[in-house]
C-alpha cells in the first residue's frame, strides 16, 4: 500500500462514526486529565485499556488510547500558565514565561499560543510519522547508552544558560536534583541509597511532589506575601483572550523549530518530551534578540517548549509503531493494548495491519483539529480562572495539589515530601535559586545515571572512545562549540566593558 492509498484508507476508517466518537472521547479525556494536576495519561490509559479491548475493531480502542495521550499534552500547560503549577515534567518550562504572561494579564494569549503550538506541532509530528516512520525507527535504535549520555551532557550544558540567575546557581540546583533522583533503591543493583531506613524512600522520590512543592506550594505562599495580587485583576476583555499580531509573529518561528526539534528528540529513548522542552527553550533564548525578556513573559518561551513537547509525543510513536519499542509509559500501554489484540507493532505492522497504522495516523490528524476546536473556547474559560480572586482560587488550588500528589501513588508520604519541598522552595526562591533545573534533573537523573554506567561498561571504561561513535561525537562537538561560544562571548563582553571603563 503506498502512502496516498494508505492515508485515504486511514481516513475512511477514522471517519466512521464510532471511531470519530472514540477519538473525541480520547482527546476530551486527555484534555481534562492534562489540566488536572497529578492524574496523567498513563493512569488514565491504564484504567481505560480494558474497555478499549471490547470494541469490534481493534483500531477503535487504539485511536482512543492515543487520543488520551496526545490530548493530555494540550491540557498540560494550563495549570503551568494559570497558577504556576506544572502538572507534568514536560510543562515545567512553560511555567517560567507562561505564568509571567498570565500575571501581566496575557493568560488568554499564553493559553491560545500553547494550544496553537500544540496543534502545529502535533500536525508536523504526524507528517513525520506518516512519511518517515520506518527509516527513522532504524535510526532510533542506533541511539545506545553512550549516545544518550552525550545528549544529556549537551542538555545540561544548555540548562546552565536557562534561567536568569547565575549559571553556578542553576548547576547547583541541577545537582541537587540529580541527588534526589538517586534516593531509593538503585535500579541496577537493588542497593538502597540514602533511604535512612525508611521504606517509603525506598521507592524513590517522585517528580510530582517536588514539582508541586517547589512551584505550587511556593506559589500559594507568594500570593499570601504579595498583598497586591489580592486586588481584582483587570477584567479580561474578549480581544485579550487571543494573542495579538506581534505575539503571533514572534511565536511562529519558535513553534516550527520546536515542532521539528521535539519530533526528533521524541524518537530516542528516555523522557523525550521533557528534554525537548528545555532544549527548545534554550534554543529560543539563544536565537532571540530580546534575551532579557525570557523569564519575564516572553511568548517565545511558551510557544517553543509547548510545540516541542507535543511533537515529541508524536515522535515517540515512531519507535513504538515501527519497532514495537515503547520509550515512555503511555507508549507501553498503547503497545500493551495492541499486543492484547494480537496486533504486533513493528515492521510487520505496515504489511499485516496497514489499517491499524493508517487508521491511527488519520485519526491523529482529526484528533488534533478536534483538540484545537475544543481548546480555543476553553481559553476563555481558563483565562477567567486566572482573574478569579486568590481568596477563591488558592484554597481550591491547595486541595488540588494535595490530592493530585496523593493520586499518583496513593501514598500520603508523597504529600509530606511536597510540603517539605514547599518550605524549602519558598526560601530557595527568596535567595534566587532557580527551581526548574532541580526538577528537570530529578526527572532525567535516573536515566542519565543508567546511561553513564552502561556507557562505561560498553566502552570498557574508556569514555574517550565516545568520539569514535558518530552520533555521540557530533553531540559532544556541539556541546564544546556551545561552551566555547558562551565563554568567548562573556570574554568579549568583559573586554568591551573594561575598555569602556578605561576610556
Amino acid at each position: 500500500m503506498n502512502g496516498l492509498e494508505g492515508i485515504l484508507n486511514g481516513f475512511s476508517q477514522a471517519l466512521t462514526l464510532v471511531n470519530l466518537i472514540a477519538c473525541f472521547v480520547g482527546v476530551l479525556l486527555g484534555t481534562i486529565i492534562g489540566v488536572l494536576p497529578g492524574l496523567g495519561p498513563t493512569a488514565t490509559m491504564s484504567l481505560l485499556l480494558p474497555i478499549t479491548l471490547n470494541f469490534n475493531e481493534p483500531v477503535t480502542g487504539l485511536i482512543m488510547l492515543a487520543g488520551i495521550w496526545y490530548g493530555a499534552q494540550y491540557g498540560g500547560s494550563t495549570t503551568s500558565i494559570l497558577v504556576n503549577i506544572p502538572g507534568e515534567a514536560a510543562s515545567v518550562m512553560t511555567c517560567i514565561d507562561g505564568n509571567q504572561m498570565a500575571k501581566k494579564g496575557r493568560a488568554g494569549a499564553a493559553l491560545s499560543i500553547a494550544a496553537l503550538a500544540s496543534f502545529i506541532a502535533g500536525t508536523v509530528g504526524i507528517i513525520g510519522l506518516q512519511f518517515f516512520a520506518p527509516p527513522l525507527a532504524k535510526a532510533a535504535l542506533s541511539f545506545g547508552p553512550p549516545e544518550y549520555l552525550c545528549l544529556m551532557i549537551l542538555a545540561f550544558t544548555l540548562l546552565t544558560n536557562l534561567t536568569g540567575s547565575s549559571p553556578t546557581k542553576g548547576l547547583l540546583m541541577a545537582f541537587v536534583g540529580f541527588f534526589l533522583g538517586t534516593i531509593g533503591t538503585d535500579s541496577q543493583t537493588g542497593m538502597n541509597r540514602f533511604t535512612l531506613g525508611s521504606a517509603d524512600l525506598m521507592g524513590g522520590i517522585d517528580f510530582l511532589p517536588i514539582a508541586m512543592g517547589l512551584f505550587g506550594i511556593a506559589e500559594i505562599i507568594s500570593v499570601l506575601i504579595d498583598k497586591e495580587s489580592n486586588q481584582q485583576l483587570e477584567k479580561v476583555r474578549f480581544k485579550d483572550l487571543f494573542p495579538n499580531k506581534e505575539e503571533l509573529k514572534r511565536s511562529s518561528k519558535p513553534m516550527f523549530r520546536g515542532s521539528i526539534l521535539g519530533f526528533f528528540i521524541g524518537l530516542i529513548p528516555g523522557p523525550g518530551p521533557t528534554i525537548s522542552t528545555f532544549i527548545s527553550y534554550s534554543l529560543e533564548k539563544r536565537l532571540s534578540k530580546i534575551k532579557d525578556q525570557f523569564g519575564k513573559g516572553a511568548v517565545e518561551g511558551v510557544a517553543g517548549p509547548e510545540a516541542a513537547n507535543n511533537s515529541a509525543v508524536t515522535g515517540s510513536l515512531v519507535p513504538l509503531l515501527a519497532l514495537g519499542i515503547p520509550f515512555a509509559p503511555p507508549a507501553a500501554l498503547l503497545l500493551a493494548g495492541m499486543r492484547m489484540q494480537n496486533i504486533e507493532a513493528g515492521p510487520m505492522l505496515f504489511q499485516q495491519f496497514p489499517n491499524v497504522f493508517w487508521g491511527i495516523v488519520a485519526s491523529m490528524y482529526l484528533g488534533n483539529i478536534m483538540l484545537l476546536i475544543l481548546n480555543l473556547p476553553l481559553v476563555g474559560f481558563f483565562a477567567k480562572i486566572a482573574s478569579i480572586k486568590p481568596m477563591f482560587l488558592m484554597p481550591v488550588v491547595s486541595i488540588l495539589c494535595l490530592i493530585g500528589v496523593y493520586s499518583v501513588r496513593n501514598n500520603i508520604f508523597d504529600i509530606w515530601i511536597m510540603l517539605l519541598a514547599g518550605i524549602i522552595g519558598f526560601f530557595l526562591r527568596r535567595k534566587n535559586y532557580p527551581v526548574a533545573p532541580l526538577i528537570l534533573a530529578l526527572v532525567l537523573g535516573p536515566t542519565t545515571e543508567s546511561a553513564f554506567r552502561n556507557s562505561l561498561t560498553i566502552l570498557n571504561g574508556n569514555l574517550s572512545s565516545l568520539f569514535e561513535r558518530p552520533i555521540a561525537a557530533v553531540l559532544l562537538a556541539v556541546t564544546i562549540i556551545y561552551l566555547i561560544a558562551t565563554v568567548g562571548r562573556k570574554y568579549i563582553k568583559l573586554k568591551k566593558l573594561n575598555t569602556a571603563v578605561s576610556k
Binding site: 480494558p50 541511539f143 535500579s187 507501553a332 513493528g346 561498561t457
Partner: protein
Amino acid sequence: MRKYSHLITYLLVIALIGLLVTGCGSKENVASANAPDKKKAVAFPEKPINFWIPYDAGGGSDIIGRALVEAAQKNLDKPIVIVNKPGTSGAVGLKELYNAKNDGYTLLTNTTTIVTHKLLGTIPYNHHDYEPIITFNYEPGSIAVPANSPYKDIKEFIDYAKKNKVKIATSAKGGIWNIATQAFIKQAGINADVVVEGGGGAKAVVMAAGGHVDAVVASPLEMFTQLKSGNLRLLSVFGPERVDAFSNVPTFKEAGYDLSITTTRPLLAPKGTPKEVLDVLYKAFKTAAEDPKYIKTIKDMGAMPLLLGPEETIKFFDKEEKVMEKILKESGQI
C-alpha cells in the same frame, strides 16, 4: 460575588463532563449490573478490586497480567483495576502487599522473584507470607543476539565468548533474568560483562536490538517483536521445553548444559484474607486461566500457560526455592 458564582458553575460543568464521560466509558459497570444475581454466601466483591502489577506497563508481567484480568473480568461483578507499581524487580510491590488490607480487594501478581528476593536478602518475605490464589503462566529465560552477529547457534556464541570478552544486557540485579545471566555465564564458563537496565527486560532488549551489546537475556515474550522483525536472533531457551512461538529454537539442555530457569507468575492476596473471599477469587481467576482465548493470546506472544491451585502453588514454589537456591549458590550470587 459574581466571580464567585462563576467558579462554582465551572466546577459543576467539569464535574458534569466527568459524569458524562464515566457514563459513556464504563461499559463494564453496565454489563455487570445486568449479570444474574447469584445467591452467594459472601458478598464479594462489593467495590472495584485493585490488581497490582509490580512492573512497568508494557513489560512481560504487565501484558500477561492484563490478559488474565481481561479474561477474569467476566467472572466478577465489579471492575478489576490494574495498577502498575514498579520497583526493584517486584520487591516494592511485594512489600506493599504485605502491609495491605487483607480484604481481598488488593491482589498482586508476581514472578519467581517471590522466592529469590528472600534468598538474596532484598525483602524478608516469600510465598509463605501471602495467600496464593492461582499460578497462571510461566516463561523460560532465553538468550538472543543482534541479527547481524556471526554466531548461528548457542555453541558458536559460547566458543566465541570463551576467547573474547562479551557484553550481555539483562534486567536489574535481583531480577530473574539477571540471575539467569549470572548462572549462564558460570555454566558456560565464558568471559562476560553484564550490562544492566532497570525496569524489566524491555530496555535491555532495545540495547541488543540496536547492536550496542553482544547478547541479551530475557524472555521470548519480551523479545518477541524484535525477534519477529529480524533485529534479534534467538539462540537458546533456558526452559524445560521449547516455546510454542519459536519451536525451532533448541533449549539449553538440548545443547548439553544443565540449566533451566523460568519465571512463573502466581497471583497473591495478603496473608489472612478470608477463605470465602479467596474461593470467589480462585473460581474467577481459574476460569480465566482456562479460557481458550487467554491461552491462545499468551501463546501467540511467546509465553506459556500453566495452571496451579493455591496448595499446588505453595508446593511449586517450595520446590522452586530449592532450585533457585542451588543456582544462586553455584553461580556465587549468595
